[in-house]
Symmetry: C2
Subunit: 223 residues, 2 copies
Amino acid sequence: MADHTVKAFDEDITRLRGLIAEMGGLAEVAIQEALDAMVRGDEELGDSVVARDKKIDALETEVDKLAVRIIALRAPMADDLREVIAALKIAGVVERIGDYSKNIAKRVHMIEGRDRFEPLTLLPAMGDLAGEMVHDVLTAYAARDPGLAREVIATDAKVDAFYNSIFRNLVSHMVENPATISSAAQLLFVARNLERIGDHATNVAEMVHFAATGSYPPEEDRL
Amino acid sequence: MADHTVKAFDEDITRLRGLIAEMGGLAEVAIQEALDAMVRGDEELGDSVVARDKKIDALETEVDKLAVRIIALRAPMADDLREVIAALKIAGVVERIGDYSKNIAKRVHMIEGRDRFEPLTLLPAMGDLAGEMVHDVLTAYAARDPGLAREVIATDAKVDAFYNSIFRNLVSHMVENPATISSAAQLLFVARNLERIGDHATNVAEMVHFAATGSYPPEEDRL
């Protein structure tokens, strides 16, 4: 590419990365607020998480459009093209992470007898870990840092351990309190949504690692 | 583009569409076999569904690579570029549909007391509907048929109705049979996975409709 084209391409990529960082910030806040709303039974906060998910969706559309325009106008080759395609994919995953938080927020009004559920103290801690994964993986993406990407992948095992513990806890709770089964089932889905957020952050971490090093991280990172 | 470039581009796009059709065929089979395995408790069949999901993943990687090559070599503009990007996105969604079936198949060995679960007769019917949506939306994609895409979107309401019915049924079952709560919780996730397959088929249907008509289908289709 000519020099001025290279500069224009770099500016475009910076903008693309900025949009993805913005999506990531919103997705992190959504995880935390969805769980705050869930724990406190704050339906208003839950509704605002649901409403703000549209903003994440709109940013993804913006990423898509910008990526298409970059490809059409700048005709990037090789690594540059792969970078644009990676941005498209990462934006898609962050949008899905937003959907999981929205899904948690939608369940706020479905829980009865909040104070009797021990998982309601575990879920925010699990959410903090999942949110940290999302934060770190986007930092790793911005800094092209494969080491941090591997840390994110290692953290996923902790999120999975939370999930297994909460699952067992809720099943015991159901056995002992049949009247609360419907609420407990909703909390199972909440735990499952957080577990999926961890999986998606891990997927992004693998893409970041691949983009930075040309290879996928070794399997032993995924304990 | 020069004539020979147009022809090469058309051939590439045909190949891209062929790969996506192959992914879709495998995803349909996976839904049906995962539910067969679940209903009969056939762990061997479940394992083969899990193993064959790698084939769907490999096809997605092939779509990604081919799409990047098409963009790099043919430098498609406007509608042609959007078509390639749409193929990338649709392949991503079909891959996710495969993951949901794999997730169902992984739960086959977690169900005890199969013959006492009424939902085990409802889930295959729900799976047939979800599989039909996947089949029809890929037919709509291949034929660029917005009418069929709208039918797929309308079918999603039936899948959601199945989900709600199975959810209520399982919660009642849990209340009446506390000893089976753990198995019932697994079946909740199975129903949820099928419901998500319907959602993803709907997303593809919206993309197909948009690609064919330039507008998203009216909201009343999504009853």
